[in-house]
Amino acid sequence: MEDTPEMLLGTIVYAVINSVILIMMSIGFNLTFGISGISNFAYGALYIFAAFTTYMLLQMVGLPYPVAVLISIVLTAAIGALMYRFILMRVRGQVLSEVIATFGIGLAILEFFRYLGFVGVEYALPVFIDDSFMIGDVFVDAQRLIIVAASIVIVGLLWLFVHFTSLGLAFRGIAQDERTALTFGMDSDWIATMSVSLGAALAAIAATIIIPLGTISVSQGYDVLINALAVSIIGGLGSTGGVIVASLVVGFAQRFTDTYIGSHWTMIVSLAAILIVLVIKPSGIYGKQKELEERI
């Protein structure tokens, strides 16, 4: 195989798409952590839950695609909220218990689908538009372009939401100084419920636009969680800017290794990126969690 300019362009185009997919996979996880300090390890499971729910509503109930998608996003958000109200609230503040509880819920959801026999290539969601385009000499299908466009819209909407709505501003307040936020009449449990719920909804939205590229499988739930963790650790937990930069770093590194070194090195590159970041700046590129300790 010879290096050609076309190959370079192709790699760049697919690296951008890969990065955008990583952003979508991790932004909800990171948002929940940024607002309420909860690491939602059921994140990957919620992603798969949304995909299977859409699939069932579409194939078994026979609802139109947009309706099925909408219902599954709402249901996933509701599960996030219930998870906080009935389980996380009781162990709030004990980080280890929060992680174990959410990871346990995630395992239960994922393995329940496996138990029900949701395994196989027939479990897939249709693409939105079955078409493809050429960017230069690179062949890109419509779904990947939709992912990029939808992600830009979603990140933009999120930005508007947290800067201009009352609930969004409350998120920003609670994230910065919870006790002060309480003096303005915010209810920390309500805001935390909303943050977990919004994170879950973002997982569902990510699943809706990304899953049509392939099939739905239980093991993907774990992959999504690992990707979300990796990107969040590299970018700095709780920082949306960090998620975007880290996704670009990891996304490009993965695609370029894939093309120029070999696909079996892809995973090693992302893990190496985590290790390097943890050695040089443990709180991540834009992280603030441990800034003080680092300075000392």
């Binding site: 609230m89 009781r90 162990v91 709030r92 503040g93 004990q94 800067h163 009352s166 501003l169 409350a170 920003r172 307040g173 910065q176 100084d177 006790r179 002060t180 936020a181 309480l182 003096t183 303005f184 009449g185 915010m186 209810d187 920390s188």
Partner: protein, 250 residues
């Protein structure tokens, strides 16, 4: 008319007694001061009045941390609010501005004021921001600046401005003069007087140093080790020989 009455309040953190059998009352439209040194229980009193302690107690309980116990009663306009959540108390008009100029460092001054208006409608927030800017004209020029980059005095003005957006009936100011220059202290003290005169807000203010606040308060309480040691009008406290010795160095 009595606005809020504290009856025999006792607050324990584990076995440590932070407030011991403390009683006080505030009339509508008064400025009341609570004077005391470090660790006298001023902040605990403020947290108990604003209900923050209820939230702290719940969180510590979930975490399996420190045990917080509260005895005694707080009566606000005839209603017992001792066990009411902080957000419900804010809805009733009791607003706390915490010590050490609590502002949201990452947000701009304008955004800080907007965040503070969580419970208010858009139009009310706009009015509240105008109101804050009228009291502290210095804030207008700083609107776009990140709050973390403000000086201590500017942060304190912002912190009080934020409480005003909530439209307090009873404003609790926890050590608003802490760490500020004498000039800034004077300016803030004047602002506190204007709050009462122009907006009819009742104010409870705590301070370590009696000198700047004693002249403006209607009544004051002196606490030591969580216990009430002296109470009286501002004039009486200023003339009290013990206070003179302890707080004015005369």
């Amino acid at each position: 008319m009595i606005m809020i009455e504290v009856q025999n309040l006792m607050v324990f953190f584990e076995n440590a007694l932070a407030l011991n059998d403390f009683s006080m009352k505030i009339e509508e439209g008064e400025i009341v001061g609570v004077i005391g040194s470090n660790s006298a229980g001023k902040t605990t009193l403020m947290n108990t009045l604003s209900g923050l302690i209820i939230d702290m107690r719940t969180k510590e309980k979930r975490k399996g941390g420190e045990r917080i116990t509260i005895y005694g009663k707080i009566i606000y306009r005839g209603e017992d609010i001792s066990e009411m959540s902080p957000s419900d108390r804010v809805k009733k008009g009791i607003v706390l501005s915490r010590e050490r100029h609590p502002v949201f460092h990452e947000s701009s001054v304008l955004e800080n004021l907007k965040i503070a208006g969580y419970l208010r409608k858009q139009s009310e927030i706009r009015e509240g921001i105008e109101y804050a800017c009228r009291l502290f004209p210095a804030l207008v020029a700083l609107k776009g600046r990140k709050a973390g980059f403000l000086s201590g005095g500017e942060q304190q003005m912002l912190a009080i401005g934020m409480s005003l957006v909530v439209r307090p009936k009873l404003l609790l100011l926890d050590e608003p003069l802490l760490g500020l220059s004498p000039m800034m202290q004077k300016m803030l003290v004047e602002a506190i007087c204007r709050l009462k005169d122009e907006f009819g807000t009742t104010v409870l203010v705590t301070e370590q140093f009696a000198r700047p606040v004693l002249p403006i308060i209607d009544r004051g309480y002196v606490i030591e080790n969580g216990m009430l040691t002296l109470a009286g009008t501002g004039r009486e406290l200023m003339d009290n020989p013990e206070i003179k010795a302890a707080y004015f160095g005369i």
